[in-house]
């Protein structure tokens, strides 16, 4: 007994925290048909473990819940850029950018046409349903003349909205693409043509022969306001008048496999090449426990500078360090934080989810980050932001330092970060030598030498306070 069934997809789809065997697509949507054709071809060609599919924004945004291959989600219209990165860094990968007409032909058209023009080793599937389906049926670049949509209630007019964009024909003006085709999932005959085209485009990727573009006309019953069968008829009868089906270009026999891109240098070499010559190379040290820290507060409090100072001290002490800032668009007053990792070996990720050490200068940041601190961690915060209703945790050590007050009393309230530095030094939580911290304290002001004396003054005052008040 042989079985015709879906292959190459996950056995169940774990959307919204529950497993289901049902897709999120509307009844009669063309996406599912194309999904099945793609995964079937990938399995038949033995490419499942080599494939990375880049999901778009649009109805196919949840593609990664379905395709049992490598998956990445891209920002709106940017699937070709992400696919380019995958294709160039993993030369053996079969790279699929799965997009819709709104995603590709409007929002990401430049991205798409440039990738096609470069002839990247990837296949782009553009599901063309002549509308923005996910957002509720607005006019898309491929909407037909006269087509009524949410944003063209009188029907699309060439004079005001332009003509439907024929992406396949536009791409056919480029030199680089190896294969360009348009097909449809409107009925059985067209689905079987699409099956051949999908397979061909994926074979080209298997052989590394270059860029393929496959446009798939697909019904969107919901946005068209038609039932599944009527929208399939619309796809076959109306859409094909503007978007004729067929293989528009097939250079597959002439095309030779592209040489794999030669990396300019390895990642460690890259960092070695661009390392600041002032710093000694980091040294592996199994005895040093990696510190993962977050410094947080408002813009203008020197949050990012305090972070830089600490990693500069770490670098001087020949530790491996990363500094990863996050801040709002405001120069002053917005939130600002940075994640720091200081370690005795190569750092895997610069992102800090659960810090060992948290330095906090504002109350909102304390409320945000305190729950994330590892049990047994240390939290340094300005006394000013504490109070009877301040968040607290019994399993972390909270060190309150009157940083802003001390800094203001000694010349500048903006040097509160320096007072925090003295607390970090005094409590020895970073495990960094004093001379490295002192050197970094001055070095971070190398562009503002006039402030060094004031900063040292605040530093000394802070350290004196710590010696008196902290264990």
């Amino acid at each position: 007994m042989s079985t015709k069934r879906t292959v190459g997809m996950f056995e169940s789809f774990d959307r919204s925290g529950r497993a289901t065997r049902s897709s999120h697509y509307c009844a009669g949507c063309g996406h599912g048909i194309l999904h099945k054709l793609i995964t079937e071809a990938l399995v038949e060609l033995g490419l499942q473990d080599r494939t990375v599919v880049v999901s778009p924004i649009g109805c196919a945004v949840f593609g990664y819940y379905y395709w049992d291959v490598g998956n990445i989600g891209a920002a709106h219209g940017r699937a070709p850029a992400v696919a380019t990165a995958v294709s160039r860094t993993i030369p053996q990968a079969v790279v699929v950018a799965y997009q819709g007409d709104g995603d590709l032909a409007a929002i990401g058209f430049n991205c798409a046409v440039q990738a096609a023009n470069r002839g990247e080793r990837m296949v782009t599937f553009m599901v063309n349903n002549c509308t923005y389906g996910m957002t509720g049926g607005q006019m898309s670049p491929t909407s037909l003349l006269g087509q009524r949509t949410l944003t063209s209630p009188q029907g699309r007019e060439a004079a005001t909205e332009g003509h439907p964009l024929r992406v396949a024909e536009l791409f056919n003006q480029l030199q680089a693409p190896v294969y360009i085709a348009r097909c449809s999932v409107a009925d059985t005959k067209r689905i079987f043509q699409t099956k051949q085209i999908v397979r061909k485009a994926l074979e080209l990727q298997r052989d590394g022969k270059g860029y393929a573009y496959v446009e798939v006309l697909s019904p969107c019953p919901t946005a068209m306001g038609l039932d599944a069968l009527a929208s399939a008829r619309f796809t076959a009868e109306q859409m094909e008048q503007v978007f004729p089906l067929g293989v528009i270009r097939d250079h597959s026999t002439q095309a030779v496999p592209l040489p794999p891109p030669a990396p300019a240098c390895s990642v460690p070499d890259f960092f070695a090449r661009y390392r600041d010559r002032d710093f000694p190379a980091p040294v592996e040290d199994a005895t040093y426990t990696e510190r993962r820290m977050i410094v947080a507060g408002s813009g203008g409090q020197g949050i990012l500078v305090l972070g830089l100072c600490l990693i500069e001290a770490g670098a001087l002490a020949q530790r491996f360090v990363t500094w990863y800032p996050t801040y709002g668009p405001e120069q002053r007053g917005g939130f600002a934080s940075c994640a720091l990792v200081i370690g005795g070996r190569t750092i895997g990720s610069p992102h800090v989810e659960h810090p060992d050490i948290l330095v906090c200068l504002t109350r909102p940041m304390l409320e945000r980050f305190l729950p994330l601190v590892k049990p047994g961690g240390v939290v340094f915060c300005d006394t000013m932001i504490l109070g009877p209703d301040a968040p607290s945790r019994p399993d972390v050590r909270i060190v309150a330092v009157p940083a802003t007050e001390l800094a203001a009393a000694n010349g500048s309230s903006r040097a509160a970060n320096t007072v925090m530095l003295t607390a970090l030094l005094h409590t020895r939580v970073t495990g960094l030598p004093e001379e490295a911290i002192l050197h970094a304290r001055d070095a971070t002001l190398r562009k503002k030498p006039s402030l060094i004396a004031l900063n040292r003054h605040v530093f000394d005052a802070g350290l004196a306070w710590c010696r008196q008040n902290l264990p």
Binding site: T6, S22, G28, H31
Partner: protein, 87 residues
């Protein structure tokens, strides 16, 4: 008992198996079936949808319903292996 066998199809014959809880009732398979052996079930599934069902005879195992179906796991088509020349 007889009816159940008809709906699921005999294992010896080609047949279409439809998961009634996954089917969204779009009717594409029904329209596409060359044998016209699919229809909407008179009763609803848990989503309030009338799913497609196999009438229980004359399926040739062609797979056309499977390819027209937008749902990954709504339709499965079973067909007995064709006898080879040597068997």
């Amino acid at each position: 008992m007889v009816e159940k066998q008809l709906n699921e199809g005999s294992n010896a014959l080609p047949h279409t198996a439809i998961d009634a809880e996954v089917c969204k009732g779009c009717r594409r398979c029904i329209a596409a079936c060359p044998q016209q052996v699919l229809r909407l079930r008179p009763t609803m599934n848990h989503c309030g949808i009338q799913p497609a069902e196999y009438i229980g005879r004359d399926c040739t195992g062609c797979g056309i319903c499977f390819y027209n179906c937008p749902e990954p796991y709504a339709i499965r088509v079973e067909s007995p292996d064709r006898p080879t020349r040597n068997s």
